[in-house]
Symmetry: D2
Subunit: 258 residues, 4 copies
């Protein structure tokens, strides 16, 4: 698979994974291994060193890129504070911005997200903003210094698939940054389809965490992402309205009888 | 990947491929290799030893199972004759029945297909009938001795995808034979989706043959089929109407401030 | 709306309705009225004159065409017997053939349906067979003397919509008889879409009977069927990949300033 | 049909129409008549009284509400200027805000649209903003004083249908203003579906203007909008996974034989 470059880093894997919702954190190292993912997102709260809960960082291999997210932020200011805190805690300078004020669908606030992106990019963060798919907002994120844009396929945690395909395709076609589909991807076939459309990567969490066997599902997503990327770079054949025989069709026996 | 057993043979690969429509036959060995396919279908005409064209068999590795198809047959009788001819020519006892009288959409004739299946199964053939998806016809094919059933996702050669998903899912849920989706699959994500639904295998030809890079596209399909099968056996997480946070959501900063 | 001719009868309405599943039979006359339907189907059992239940026929206006159906028939022979009984009971010579042996999805048996159609058409019945969508089976029904063909959009009673659209469109394009979409239509928009595709009519039962207000839902379906037919005869505009302004786009103010 | 109230005005019709792209303006009065539309949008340029072209206003009946749009505006400031000009030219105080900087997909700029809405609502305009579907942006438009919100189903003029259904449904469920689907609606069935989802109205232009017979297609859309609204208020029956017989199913003949 061709490499993906984000923030100057070359990535072999185009599957980013999240660490929420797993039945037990103990499964996370195996999930990361079978996914071959190199970029792992987690809510900053889970990194809290004084937490009575186990620290999520213990479960993430050292060679992975940490992508702390600002979940819990309700506006740009809070997102910025969480991002700085993440850096101070040693999580590095990658940050996934999530600014969410809607508690039912957890839909992102593009406007506040653009504001936070601008501030953090100037501070040297590699900023990956989660967004509602919208070409014009994506263009503003480009101007604001985002390293990639992360439109949702469907609301977080729904496993509903690429419901916003039309808008995501336009973003892929029109902007120069990597487009990483985040949220909604429920099946490996959804991930493959996003990659076939030209997405640079996908981020998957719930679909792996809530699978019957999360470790094997992580592998399934890895294969699907590779399949989709390979299909994209190898160029899909055209779709047709009418049938066309793969094999010679009529008169076979007649000719044979001559 | 768990193994698929058809006609008493254990198969590692759940991707069957066809040999029609390639820009050059010379690419076929590499396509078979990158697809890791073990079952290769070809129109019997191409096996014709006296043909001025090159013989398709030269391009198929010896360890593959040949699945000659009866394309060109317009009724059961012709399909039966072609099948016997294939066996006589040394193509083995696997046969894919295609009975087609419609020249525009190349849709199969389920009724004549059932008749041919019954005759050939009794003669000891491993019969894989191509069919229009229909639960009751599939049940008749089971009774007639088919080794698997091969419903179409869309007309042959259209790359239009799983347009008959509803009917195929019912077949998968209700009959005991392997259901192999044949025709219409245009993208690796289509193949993955068919496998996630519980299809036993898929047969792909046009989507590989008409791709920009057929060898790499064959690999993409291989990965997608593995992804879809693994997702099926690992159980997909449930789809939800409303969002559910993967990460802890609100009040993060407030709590932090206490 | 242009007229539909079936069995030599000119129909103003292209919405056929069924009489099963209503919370009370008393609502049926109002449903028929608001639907403006002229063809009403009912299971023959409900016509049983000695039944302790009320006779369904009492609820159907005299100027409607009765379309008794053979539900309960598991093969051609039973369907033929029910059809003859219907005629003997005074239900006229229209018959909707339903041959169903599958109790979970209630999918029709195309093969037995073709047999019953042939017998009954020869006896002078106006035969409307319910079928699994399949071009070749539809062609056999044409030859067998059917007056129309009735492919399913989805299993009976599911309200799942036009899940078999691809196969129905091919039937509409390729055969000369009226194609009436029966079963699965769950919303007026489904009915409109079937008509836009060129269906001659639709049969709706569950979607009306299980609506909050069946009488108004019947009117909604009437309007949707008219809308869809009118759209079909008025020719839909083409679909495009890229946007095209409905209004003059750029430079308005600049020009105004000159 | 129940009435729709916007800006204090009671509307009988929930079909808004546009006046662009018609082969000849002369057909517009008949289109308005057959659509029974009461709200008619047009680009302000067409109202220009000194234009060598005919003035579009001549073709709009006096009892319709004019909805001039700001097409040509590339930012909030230009939209505001066009709105004021429209009012000064006697077009009333309804305004459809279109702020578009993308020339290929003509996608709206939600951020600038919110700014223009706030300014114009304060000046007493009845503001209907065209927007990219996004719950949070829609909430800001509510706060900014919009009278309704107009999310796109697909890019303007494409006739591609309700490609953003998921996001529009969330807007309908979560905000209190009327949601009017604007752009992309290509077929009456699309319009019916939008109304079944709970949209308050739809705006259609290209699908009527580019139809074979625009006057009849306008009538088809009128019927479809009424059908969809009636279905919404009458409550659709539930969708089911498995079949359920509309008619009594098995054993009919057996029982009859007793």
């Amino acid at each position: 698979m061709d490499k993906l470059i984000i923030g100057g880093i070359e990535l072999e894997s185009r599957l980013f994974i999240g660490t929420g919702k797993f039945p037990s954190k103990k499964v996370i190292p195996d999930v990361i291994k079978s996914s071959k993912s190199q970029v792992i997102t987690m809510a900053l709260r889970r990194v809290d060193l004084n937490s009575k809960e186990e620290n999520i960082l213990e479960y993430i291999p050292k060679d992975c890129i940490l992508l702390p997210n600002t979940s819990g932020a309700r506006n740009a200011e809070e997102a910025v504070r969480i991002a700085r805190l993440a850096k101070a805690l040693g999580c590095g300078n990658w940050i996934k911005i999530e600014v969410i004020s809607d508690n039912k669908y957890l839909l992102p606030d593009n406007y506040e997200t653009i504001k936070a992106t601008e501030i953090l990019a100037k501070e040297g963060f590699i900023v990956l903003p989660y967004m509602s798919p919208d070409l014009i907002a994506a263009k503003r994120l480009v101007e604001a210094g985002a390293a990639a844009v992360m439109p949702l396929g469907a609301p977080i945690g729904t496993n509903r698939g690429l419901k916003t395909k039309e808008l995501i395709q336009i973003m892929i076609d029109e902007i120069d940054l990597p487009v990483i589909v985040d949220a909604g991807i429920g099946k490996p076939s959804d991930a493959a389809e996003a990659m076939e459309m030209g997405a640079a990567a996908v981020l998957v969490n719930t679909a792996i965490a809530t699978a019957g066997d999360p470790v094997k599902m992580a592998e399934a997503f890895r294969l699907a992402v590779e399949a989709g990327r390979l299909a994209y770079t190898s160029k899909l054949g055209p779709e047709k309205r009418f049938a066309e025989a793969s094999s010679p069709l009529t008169g076979f026996l007649n000719e044979g009888e001559k």
